[in-house]
């Protein structure tokens, strides 16, 4: 019962933050609301005992993506002002489309038959994932580090000042 109450509280928090992200007039505030929404989702993952997913959500969405968005807003001129609204004249259409999407998703959830597993979550799930990274999946794991090198060089190439 207590868990359900926490779930409802966290869900409400997440939804409010998401609404704030869409409705805030100041783009920077919107980004901060987005961080809050991401955080709420990660708490939901914790409640579902999906610890790895929850931590990945924090590292990737709050640590990387939200920071990227904040930087992008701060670095682009004319976006910081409080009068820079997020909405144009198509906003009602977007809302309408979203409403139908919501109906569709609700309908799909209604007809879908999800399979449930009786198996409990392994207490050392994160440790198991870590071991899999360096045993079974060592090749893609190591190759991904090459990908990171490529991305680093690329970022430096893009950001560096032009010299003639």
């Amino acid at each position: 019962m207590a868990l359900q109450a926490i779930f409802l509280l966290v869900s409400a928090f997440t939804l409010l933050m998401a609404l704030g992200a869409v409705l805030a007039r100041n783009l920077f505030h919107a980004a901060l609301f987005l961080v809050g929404a991401f955080f709420g989702v990660s708490v939901l993952y914790f409640l579902l005992e999906a610890e790895f997913l929850a931590i990945a959500q924090i590292i990737i969405y709050i640590g990387a993506i939200a920071t990227l968005i904040v930087f992008a807003i701060m670095l682009s001129r004319g976006m910081m002002g409080p009068e820079a609204g997020q909405h144009n004249r198509y906003a009602p259409f977007a809302a309408l489309a979203l409403f139908f999407l919501f109906l569709l998703v609700a309908w799909l959830f209604n007809i879908a038959r999800f399979e449930y597993s009786e198996q409990a979550v392994a207490p050392d799930a994160i440790a198991q994932i870590g071991r899999a990274f360096v045993t079974t999946y060592v090749v893609p794991f190591e190759v991904a580090s090459i990908l990171l090198v490529v991305a680093l060089i690329g970022a430096i190439m893009l950001a560096r000042e032009r010299t003639s």
Binding site: L147, V149, I153, L158
Partner: protein, 488 residues
């Protein structure tokens, strides 16, 4: 499990390439050099890169005689991947020779360029070897991201940045398709290994949709119609050595990876996918050739021509037989020589204003024969080979491909391909006519003096196009022996 018990040999060429790339990268931060020395340092880096490529090629050749091996089922080191490695390394080496003089004209970022090129090579080599979806995706991203950056390498030029951005945006979509397809296949089978997918695929909607999405993603990477929209702009805007490299390397690696993926789709019979590939091939060669007819820029003409060539190479996959695979590999070798050779010649006809689009217009080649007879002859040889005129490599490549198609019962596709070759002859010959029959005027332009490195690249490419043609029989047969050894 013990890491030392693994078969590291099967990944040795790739490791050498990555190590070379890191060595090249580190030199960027060692010491400060004056502007004059920078060019010399660039040449030194090119030499290091070439040595790395040669070592990797040597290791690959040594592995040719060894039986196929795998690395924890993630990568498969077999005849297919060895020959693919050789094509990629050849393309990269020729691209380095092209970049030798070209690069120093607009940038001093030599170490970044060569290390990105090497990393793209490593990505391609991993891609051709991967037998597991995660490895496949990560290696595909390595090569894609390196090539996005290399495409926009000339930062003084708007067209280069535009090409890079277009390539990036559409490429990101293609990657999305591949991830989505991989996710569906994983959902269907509970595994990312090709062998498990083949064994457990339900054959239902999930399997079909998964493979179809992967096919779309790969079709984008090999620039097959209707997923080719980015190609002309990206190929025209990119620095020419990069264009030459990616037009060969990406196609080769993606074709081999696509073959491995589709081979694992045994639960949905290969014929289903052969039909999809056949339609893709038909569209690709026809649209590529027809669009090339109207081009006035040699670089753009070669871009459309390379779309059409991808259509021919897809025929090998359509056949799906040993003969088809063998023909595709042979064609890849021939294509590496003649296409990079053609781009090498085109790079010498470009304007010297580096803030403008680096483009070799058809007018620049007017009467080239009377100004530079050897260069004109070399370009003519590449054009003849691309058009498929005997006794050059391109002719035999097409012959083997069409033969494999007929052998596998795809007579109509072979006929369409023959008709397409006739169409393509028109625009390839137009370049030759402009060079040999017309008189030079003020628009004729050659970058003089022609750098020795470019001459070397062109000579290698000419020799390759000639020798692969003259020795087509024996080289095709030796490819065959190796490919047959591959499990079917």
């Amino acid at each position: 499990m013990n890491l030392s018990s693994l078969n590291w040999n099967s990944l040795l060429p790739e490791l050498v390439i990555v190590a070379t790339s890191l060595i090249v990268l580190i030199t960027a931060v060692v010491g400060k050099v004056s502007r004059v020395d920078r060019i010399a340092r660039g040449h030194a880096l090119a030499v290091v890169t070439l040595i790395g490529l040669l070592i990797a090629a040597g290791l690959t050749i040594m592995q040719l005689s060894q039986p196929a091996s795998d690395f924890m089922g993630m990568v498969q080191s077999d005849a297919l991947s060895h020959y693919l490695n050789l094509v990629i390394l050849l393309a990269a080496a020729l691209a380095v020779l092209l970049a030798w003089d070209y690069l120093g004209r607009f940038t001093y970022s030599f170490s970044e360029f060569y290390s990105l090129l090497l990393l793209a090579v490593a990505g391609m080599m991993f891609l051709g070897k991967s037998t597991e979806l995660i490895t496949l995706f990560v290696s595909l991203e390595i090569l894609s991201i390196s090539l996005y950056i290399l495409t926009g390498f000339n930062r003084h030029q708007l067209a280069s940045a535009e090409a890079s951005l277009k390539y990036f945006l559409l490429g990101a979509f293609a990657s999305g398709f591949i991830v989505y397809g991989a996710a569906l296949l994983y959902g269907d089978t509970g595994s990312t290994w090709f062998s498990d997918i083949a064994a457990n695929a339900s054959g239902g909607f999930l399997t079909l949709a998964g493979f179809a999405l992967l096919l779309v993603g790969f079709a984008f990477k090999i620039a097959a119609v209707p997923f080719h929209m980015w190609t002309p702009d990206a190929y025209q805007g990119a620095p020419t050595p990069v264009t030459a490299f990616m037009s060969v390397g990406t196609k080769a690696a993606a074709l081999v990876a696509l073959f491995r993926v589709l081979q694992s789709a045994v639960s949905a019979p290969y014929e289903t996918w052969a039909w999809a590939l056949a339609i893709l091939s038909l569209l690709t060669m026809t649209v590529g050739n027809v669009a090339a007819l109207r081009q006035t820029s040699i670089k753009r003409l070669l871009a459309y021509s390379s779309i059409a060539q991808a259509g021919y190479m897809l025929i090998g996959l359509v056949a799906g037989t040993v003969l088809g695979l063998q023909a595709m590999l042979f064609y890849l070798f021939a294509y590496a020589f003649m296409n990079i050779g053609a781009f090498a010649c085109a790079s010498l006809l470009e304007s010297d204003d580096w803030s403008e689009l680096q483009d070799a217009s058809m007018a620049n080649a007017r009467g080239l024969f009377s100004r530079q007879p050897l260069l004109a002859t070399a370009l003519a040889i590449f054009m003849f080979s691309l058009a498929g005129i005997p006794p050059l490599a391109g002719f035999f490549g097409k012959l083997y491909l069409f033969d494999a198609a007929i052998d596998a019962g795809w007579l109509w596709l072979a006929l369409v391909a023959v008709i397409n070759s006739v169409i393509s002859a028109y625009y390839y010959m137009r370049v030759v006519v402009v060079m040999f029959m017309e008189a030079p005027d003020e628009s004729t332009r050659v970058r003089l003096p022609i750098p020795d490195s470019a001459i070397l690249a062109i000579v290698i490419a000419v020799l390759g196009a000639l020798l692969l043609g003259i020795l087509a029989g024996p080289s095709f047969a030796s490819l065959g022996q190796a490919v047959v050894a591959w499990r079917f």
